[in-house]
Symmetry: C2
Subunit: 336 residues, 2 copies
DNA sequence: CTGTTAGCGCGTTCAT
DNA sequence: ATGAACGCGCTAACAG
């Protein structure tokens, strides 16, 4: 069997009896070019018949820009929700003609630069911030855009703020509304999660401050009792004990897993009446004892917004604003 | 600010006072070319000083092969374990100079061909099988390799068999060893998971058949009682009831989440003494009531094997064999 | 030995 | 609707 030669635009041109230029114009529907419907159809026929697929490499080389959006995944465990978000994002970007790919694995494996060098993406999406050098290197290499999720706003190029604070705020509001005044915060054990945990905790603080500011007895401006809660029953029990001692009756957990640990700790201590609220609504949440009250983000809407932002940035349009109103919802079950 | 021109090998050549060819030879350490250490160093200096990064597009165009390995993710929810596997795989491939990226999102969004056309990968990794047409198209387009996880072995090119059957076998063996003779199987509700569920269930059957074949009362060659278990307490309870009626005392669940549902169902019915074993060891497993016994796969070893297989295939070497002996382990807790 | 010249791979786009 | 040049790196053939 002979080496299966790639089908190029020259093949299509030959088959259609036209020049390669014409093929290009037809296939790209280049504006400002008048091509007769007859030739147009012949080219389309030929392309389809041969199963022509333009070489992404050649096109990228020529135009200096690919249609790939690269997402650099952080090295912390990817849960279901993030997986979900990525899926939605991929779908949304596909509608805009962009191909979404994610690169897992820590930066320790390879310098970050090597990754995008190998891909030549139109945009890079990251969860953590880039250093100025990295940002500059990407600009220099022709990467159109750097978007950093969770980055401090306004430092580099464009930034997207996924509203993590709001998550914490909603949690606290729910607990406060159900009669819990002294709150605890269950902080994750894994230091890599800090980047998400801090803004969420800040959101809880905001909600508490708003309440204490409103109440006449402005003295109790106490923030939440923060305890680090490993995913382990015995260690979680220790945290529960401390909260009890401090008079805490409601706990906002970093996410559902940490919340489950709190529940397990309370159970081990036979403590009842400690309200717990998680984040994410993982499948295990509804199956927990008691069923876990939690907070979810509308991933579809969020993904759509991220997609629009990316598209806008790639094409140089201004960044749209996210309406965060209905983005985050409480799923009330029995734990809080 | 002027348009930041890309730095090309010509820039490096100019700076080092040599030709572009020399730059290429030095930077690629091309064998069979003798270049004096002096020039070599000058080139290296220049490259480093300018922050030169070869254009992946140009290189791919010229060589017809990129160093990217593309993984097509299935559209079912990817959990922690898969995320983990991808991370390990990425690390392992990085060591071989390959860049790993994953594309989430269903094939409904875009025809599968569009994806790899946009990436020009050296290899494509998929969980589900490809059609013959797709396989042929990839070959024709110059994609070096098609690897299908979970594919029926031997149909297309190379195939990797992630040992799902073994997972089910281990589960059943554990239950049988702890005195449970009549087993149930908790099948997932989501039809997209069937591709994983079938081989696991088959593994359970294998283990049961082995036992009944061994025992003198060969009559009880009964397979497991299969019940579909949605992630919902009430519906799971129905399944538990049926198992009870059939005298089942031990249940192998498709994964930990389904196992948690079974546990919740049993709890709702106040049924005690039903042994349950899951798969994956998700964080919630150890926090369940009772703590969930489960089966885990050594993702690091598996990832290493996948990586070697991919590398072997890309470079045309024979596929290595996976030693499955210690790959899958039971994590015994209290539920079984 | 040491390093250079020249042409290719493929799609895009300007000028004719 | 076309010829020709271009983007960038690789490498066979060749000269000092």
């Amino acid at each position: 069997m002979p080496e299966p030669r790639r089908i190029t635009s020259a093949d299509v041109a030959r088959r259609a009896g036209v020049s390669r230029a014409t093929v290009s114009y037809v296939l790209n529907a280049t504006p400002g070019q008048s091509i007769s419907t007859a030739t147009r159809d012949r080219v389309l026929q030929a392309a389809a018949g041969l199963g022509y697929a333009p070489s992404a490499a050649a096109r990228t080389l020529r135009t200096g820009r690919s249609d790939v959006v690269l997402c650099l995944l952080p090295d912390w465990p990817i849960g279901n929700e993030v997986g979900n978000l990525l899926g939605n994002l991929s779908t949304a970007l596909a509608r805009e003609g962009l191909t979404f790919v994610a690169h897992p694995g820590s930066r320790a494996d390879r310098p970050i630069a090597e990754i995008w060098k190998a891909i030549t993406p139109a945009a890079v999406l990251s969860f953590t911030d880039f250093s100025d050098d990295e940002t500059e290197a990407m600009r220099a290499a022709g990467v159109a855009l750097v978007v950093a999720l969770l980055g401090r706003a306004g430092r580099h190029g464009r930034e997207l703020e996924v509203p993590q604070q709001l998550v914490g705020t909603r949690q606290a509001e729910h607990l406060l509304a159900t009669g819990h005044a002294r709150l605890g915060y269950a902080y994750p054990d894994d230091p890599r999660l800090q980047i998400f945990a801090e803004p969420r905790l800040a959101g809880v603080r905001t909600a508490l401050a708003a309440v204490s500011g409103r109440s006449s007895s402005g003295a109790s401006a106490a923030g939440p009792r923060v305890e680090t809660v490993p995913l382990d029953v015995a260690q979680a029990a220790v945290a529960v004990e401390r909260w009890r001692a401090a008079g805490v009756t409601g706990v906002c957990a970093y996410n559902d897993e940490v919340a489950l640990a709190v529940l397990a700790g309370a159970r081990a201590l036979s403590v009842t009446g400690l309200a717990v609220i998680g984040v994410d609504d993982i499948p295990a949440a509804r199956l927990a004892v008691p069923p876990l009250t939690t907070v979810t983000t509308d991933q579809r809407t969020l993904a759509a917004h991220l997609a629009t932002t990316i598209v806008a940035a790639v094409s140089g349009r201004p960044t749209p604003v996210l309406r965060t109103a209905d983005l985050i919802r409480v799923v009330a079950r029995e734990s809080a």
